[in-house]
């Protein structure tokens, strides 16, 4: 149980100006006005028993486990809800027999209807009820009546199971759902001893954040289908880690047993994820085991065969050396800082190439310029804390609930205390409603024009000190948007934050895995920057590529057209590119392809040398989250036989007789010593606004839970995903009926129609969900013109 909150009462002692003096168990102390007894007692190391109390939830004082004595008050008071007043004299169970007996009495009542099934309960061994029954309860029970019973368990969702007889009605789960997630899909029903958590009929608890309720349940009432009965907590080894799924950068705790990860929990990081995470981060980890590339492979007579490491490394080194100067490097968006740095250095030294990019998605030169000018190597400017205190936050091409869920939670928390959220987008989503946000409608592709014509009221909002503009990676696909965002930030003084989706994008950007940018955001064409990097790498600056290389689709086109003769590909799924066909042709036409990959994929199938690399549990590293905050993590499995990308690259480099460190700590130290670029930066792009397409345009983003490969083999999680639907306006829906067929150049998808608040000439479909993959099924990207037809007839 954690005690800190970065903004709640009881924190930031040194910042508080309004201190009061109180006495707890005879100890005089000063606390900020408004501090709750339970928080102040924690600061003295006094643990008052509690179940319903949670520092991040509003007090409810329902369980009564924390009753303490307050001098002058006739009845014991709940420490979790009692606000301290100046001069208050409080006695906890250690100083007051009244408090001790009150707590003991409540504990006896709590155990009354609680089953004695600890030996088969998932919570057994880490259970606040068990622990506090030992510390605050009676040694023996006096109750010999019949306990109330329920059918067990019931599914409140496909993932979350509820054993109602274990529930102590603390209402943490229901308050979390309502107050934190904004998904009040579970509620207490019935009354008295029959009170129970439940859902409405046929409306399961399909919240993106449902797993948190399992973690904060103080008993074993809520369990997850994926972990239930899998292990006992005392058999687990726990390692603090960082979530690899998105750029929110959650701290996690990874628990494993006998070399297998059994579960992941949100870990407490008040500055980032507080104590929460999303269900993808919690449950999507089975990919780490299944479908792995297990051995190095080389292509011989057109077929891949297993090879030894020395043979494969030698083959890779020879092939790349032959193509030196004509090699493209595709890093993928999931690399750690250290791995990306190794790719960056490997490309510029071993391959003598600046043709490198980490963006496996729709990109544009405008984005490259924007990132170089405003993001790469920048210190943390906008942070989670600054979102919480921001008077206004403007979202551009960003749907935080799907694309950065912890940003969503923090924005929702901010909105609940007054932050104004405004979104420039195509759909007034439920996520936006949960942030009490307002929509500035923009036709997909036409965002830049909307931003440049933003009304004075919104500009005034953003001009308030502390306001933030958050722009998502999808902005790259709408011409002029990133330029307009930079202009708006300059004009209003709002802090600008770029929020990519994948965990490794910001890492790769700052590590220099982008054409034209050396580590720390150094322009490759800047002499001073070249000197600094060359010195760090122990080479003459003249050895570095002289001009900006290719980025984005240009690398793919060059490979397809024979201008590049080799590719080094690490962690790339071809279908994630805006044009998967181009990507396939690029791989097929590149003379020599080295694939560093942990899973079999379309790239490994086509590669000449396949080198297996570690997943996050098998290596140490650092992700930079959207803030630019380093999120280091250690190796979960210390005896893993796999190697990280950096180590494998260093072996290839060694075979090419080029020095490249492979040790994560060395790489981290080297990059740290280099530091961020302090010299002249690129100018932000000034791209003119793009014109939206004619006819019906497509809006789309990736849902949090979708067909992503890292969510494979987790059916319970997948079953809580949002259904694949097409969202249209009420007017459009009336014309279409219940289903719609969306047609693009590559084909059609037929989906159920869902009405949303959006313009009549737009349609939203998920980018990559079961039954709707827009890159492959439709052959389009957001902003494209599509054709809608009623029903299933294309």
């Amino acid at each position: 149980m954690t005690v800190t909150s970065n903004s709640g009462p009881g924190s930031d002692l040194e910042m508080a100006t309004d201190l009061i003096t109180v006495v707890i168990d005879g100890v005089e102390m000063q606390v900020p006005k408004g501090t709750l007894v339970i928080r102040a007692a924690e600061q003295l190391g006094i643990e008052v028993p509690r179940f319903c109390d949670h520092p991040l939830l509003d007090p409810v004082a329902a369980c009564r486990a924390c009753l303490i004595e307050v001098e002058g008050m006739p009845k014991p008071q709940p420490a979790c809800a009692q606000v301290l007043n100046d001069g208050m004299n409080v006695k906890t169970q250690y100083a007051s027999e009244v408090a001790r007996l009150a707590q003991e009495g409540v504990m006896e009542f709590l155990l009354l209807n609680h089953p004695l099934d600890c030996p088969v309960c998932d919570k057994g061994g880490e259970c606040p009820l068990q622990n506090q029954a030992m510390s605050a309860g009676r040694p023996e029970t006096r109750f010999d009546g019949e306990k109330r019973e329920f059918d067990k368990p019931i599914n409140v969702s496909a993932q979350i199971l509820l054993d109602r007889e274990r529930c102590v009605s603390c209402a943490r789960c229901t308050r979390f759902a309502e107050q934190i997630a904004g998904d009040p899909m579970i509620e207490l029903l019935e009354r008295g001893a029959q009170q129970q958590v439940g859902t409405a009929d046929d409306e399961p608890f399909d919240s993106y954040f449902s797993g948190n309720t399992v973690q904060i349940c103080p008993v074993g009432a809520l369990t997850s289908a994926s972990y239930r009965f899998r292990s006992r907590p005392f058999d687990l080894v726990s390692v603090p880690t960082t979530c690899e799924h998105c750029a929110s950068g959650c701290s996690l705790r990874t628990d494993y047993r006998r070399g297998v990860v059994t579960r992941r929990l949100a870990w407490d990081d008040p500055e980032v994820n507080e104590e929460w995470n999303c269900d993808k981060g919690r449950f999507a980890f089975t990919y780490q085991r299944n479908g792995r590339v297990e051995h190095p492979m080389i292509r011989e007579n057109g077929e891949l065969r297993v090879a030894s490491w020395p043979e494969a490394i030698d083959a890779a080194a020879r092939g790349l050396a032959a193509a030196r100067g004509q090699v493209g490097v595709l890093v993928g968006g999931r690399s750690t800082v250290e791995d990306a740095y190794a790719y960056a250095r490997f490309a510029r030294t071993a391959l003598a190439s600046d043709d490198i990019d980490f963006r496996v998605r729709e990109t544009a030169d405008e984005e490259t310029a924007f990132l170089a000018a405003r993001v790469a190597g920048s210190p943390v400017a906008a942070s989670y804390d600054s979102l919480e205190t921001a008077p206004a936050v403007l979202l551009v091409a960003l749907e935080p609930e799907d694309e950065s869920p912890i940003v969503f939670l923090r924005l929702r928390k901010a909105a609940r205390s007054g932050t104004k959220v405004v979104s420039v987008g195509a759909v007034a989503t439920t996520g936006l409603a949960k942030m009490s946000g307002t929509l500035v409608p923009a036709r997909p592709g036409g965002e830049a024009a909307v931003l440049r014509a933003l009304d004075d009221d919104t500009r005034a909002l953003l001009s308030q000190p502390g306001s933030v503009i958050m722009v998502g990676e999808r902005a790259a696909g709408a011409q002029g948007t990133l330029s307009a965002v930079a202009e708006l930030a300059d004009a209003t003084g709002a802090t600008l934050a770029w929020v990519p989706r994948r965990a490794g994008e910001r890492s790769a950007l700052d590590a220099g895995a982008l054409a034209g940018l050396l580590p720390g955001g150094r322009p490759i064409e800047d002499p001073q920057a070249r000197e600094q990097v060359a010195a760090a790498w122990g080479i003459p600056a003249s050895d570095l590529p002289a001009v900006n290389g290719r980025s984005g689709d240009a690398i793919l086109r060059a490979a397809r057209d024979g201008e590049l003769s080799a590719l080094v590909v690490g962690g790339v799924e071809l279908v994630d590119y805006a044009d998967p066909t181009l990507a396939e042709e690029a791989i097929d036409n590149a003379g020599f392809v080295v694939s560093l990959e942990n899973h079999h994929s379309a790239v490994t199938e086509r590669a000449d040398v396949v080198l297996p690399v570690a997943v996050v549990t098998e290596k140490a590293g650092t992700f930079l989250n959207w803030e630019g905050r380093p999120r280091p993590f250690g190796q979960v499995f210390r005896d893993a036989l796999t190697m990280g990308d950096a180590k494998v690259l260093s072996m290839i480099a060694a075979a090419m007789e080029i020095p490249l460190p492979g040790d994560v700590r060395v790489l981290r130290a080297e990059l740290g010593a280099l530091g961020p670029w302090a010299g002249n930066r690129f100018q932000a792009p000034t791209t003119p606004s793009g014109a939206a397409s004619e006819g019906t345009v497509l809006a789309s983003w990736r849902l949090l839970l979708d067909s992503g490969l890292m969510q494979e083999d987790e059916p319970h999680l997948a079953a809580t995903a949002r259904p694949t639907v097409a969202m249209v306006s009420a007017t459009t829906a009336a014309a279409l009926g219940e289903t719609v067929t969306v047609t693009g150049p590559a084909g059609s998808v037929t989906l159920p129609v869902q009405v949303a608040d959006m313009s009549d000439d737009a349609v939203w479909v998920p980018m990559n969900s079961p039954g709707c993959h827009i890159h492959t099924d439709l052959g389009v990207t957001p902003g494209a013109s599509v054709r809608l037809t009623a029903g299933g007839a294309a």
């Binding site: 007090p59 409810v60 004082a61 329902a62 369980c63 009564r64 486990a65 009753l67 006739p74 009845k75 014991p76 809800a81 007996l101 009150a102 009495g105 409540v106 006896e108 009542f109 709590l110 009354l112 209807n113 006096r142 109750f143 009546g145 019949e146 109330r148 102590v168 009605s169 509620e187 207490l188 019935e190 009354r191 008295g192 001893a193 029959q194 009170q195």
Partner: protein, 434 residues
């Protein structure tokens, strides 16, 4: 002490429930004078009258009104608690059926005093007769211009909403009532903030009992001195006593506070078959029971407290010697177990445990050890629960043990139906035992 019918004065008029009937007996004259006064003057009058809440707790009404912050820019609300559900209490419902316009007049004056433009009457859902009568009275008052906009040309606006509860005792708890009124679960709210500061829709709200509000037109119309001629210094005024149990004429008796149970018993025609009073409760099942030795104790807030009980709702239940205390206490606990909202542990679990144990006593399967345990359990609920429902549930057993320990001891070996023939205590005519 003689009866002093005020609220009940004209209940023999079958038309009293109509606007015309009420007016025939001077109805709405107090309103006319009240609307000409300064609202604060009305609050002052009610404060000076010493009127105490008739819902059970006896909190000074004028003081409660004065807690409402003025000129705070927020809407104010008056909520009338008409969710009369206390076992043994039957006074608000007859008032609403017989004299609903007294309630409406009180609501208008009170709303004017606390600057509320919206009043709600939350009526227990199981009594459609009362809901119909009050709804009809509101309609009549609206048609007569007594509520609506610019009432009697004073510029004061008021609308009254009649809301039907859905059958939960907990919704008589004022903050649970507010939740229910807002469409939320009927469970009590954490205080502070208190309703006077942040009540209905987070705005300043006064919650008063039906009978309390019905006092207002008479206090405002006839004056503080008139009101204070009844009752005592600490319990001024009169009270609608609803007498029930083993008496010959159960019913409503309006009398000054300070009347004794013995006097009320006389008005109620004495005990059936002249059997002795075994135990009685001054105001609902939530107050500790008394015995025949307390029949001469004045029925005032202070004297009842001195006797170790509470005036409560002022609706005495009288039981004769045919009744098993064990069985009576078990019935009440079954009620509290059924009505416990489940929010807090002591009440939710405590009522479950105590009731189960008492049911075993009833079958003659109690034990000495459990008698002590039950005392402990009540102590573990009293003052530890979230709201007064838990305290109420923890009240009957210790009070019964104080006077009738032997009966619980007997129930460790003998079923109570063997000790007390259930049929003997039936009060309806033609009952087997009579």
């Amino acid at each position: 002490m003689t009866l002093t019918p005020v609220i009940t004065e004209h209940w023999d008029d079958p038309e009293l429930f109509t606007l015309a009937g009420y007016r025939r007996h001077g109805g709405y004259t107090a309103l006319a004078s009240a609307l000409k006064q300064d609202p604060d003057a009305i609050i002052g009058t009610v404060k000076d009258s010493g009127l105490r809440g008739r819902g059970g707790a006896g909190f000074p009404t004028g003081l409660k009104w004065s807690f409402v912050p003025q000129n705070d820019g927020k809407p104010h609300y008056l909520v009338v608690n008409a969710d009369e559900s206390e076992p043994g209490a039957c006074k608000d419902i007859p008032i609403m059926i017989a004299n609903p316009h007294a309630l409406i007049e009180g609501v208008i004056i009170t709303s004017f005093a606390i600057r509320a433009n919206h009043a709600f009457i939350y009526i227990r859902g199981e009594v459609p007769e009362a809901i119909r009568r009050v709804a009809n009275a509101v309609r009549e008052a609206r048609e007569a211009g007594l509520i609506g906009t610019d009432i009697m040309g004073t510029g004061f606006d008021l609308d009254i909403v009649v809301h039907s509860g859905a059958g939960a005792y907990i919704c008589g708890e004022e903050t649970a009532l507010l939740n229910s009124l807002e469409g939320l679960r009927g469970q009590p709210r954490l205080k502070p903030p208190f309703p006077a500061v942040a009540g209905l829709y987070a705005s300043p709200t006064v919650i008063n009992n039906v009978e309390t509000i019905c006092n207002i037109p008479y206090i405002v119309g006839r004056g503080v001195d008139w009101f204070r001629q009844f009752g005592t210094e600490k319990s001024p005024g009169f009270k609608v006593f609803a007498v029930s149990g083993h008496v010959n004429r159960p019913g409503i008796y309006e009398a000054p506070l300070g009347i004794t149970m013995r006097e009320l018993l006389d008005y109620a025609g004495g005990m059936i078959d002249d059997r002795p009073v075994k135990f009685w409760l001054p105001g609902g099942s939530s107050v500790p029971m008394l015995t025949a030795e307390h029949l001469d104790t004045p029925m005032t807030y202070e004297a009842m407290a001195e006797a170790g009980t509470m005036l409560g709702t002022g609706t005495p239940m009288i039981f004769n010697d045919t009744v098993s205390v064990v069985k009576a206490v078990t019935r009440w606990l079954e009620f509290y177990k059924h009505e416990s909202c489940g929010k807090c542990t002591p009440c939710r679990e405590g009522t479950y445990w105590i009731t189960g144990t008492l049911e075993r006593f009833q079958e003659g399967h109690g034990s000495d050890r459990e008698m002590e345990t039950l005392t402990d359990l009540c102590g573990q609920i009293m003052g530890r629960s979230f709201c007064a429902l838990g305290d109420a549930a923890a009240t009957p057993y210790p009070a019964a043990m104080k006077y009738f320990r032997d009966e619980f001891a007997a129930a460790t070996s003998t079923p109570v139906d063997d000790s007390f023939d259930p049929a003997a205590s039936y009060v309806f005519s033609g009952a087997a035992a009579r």
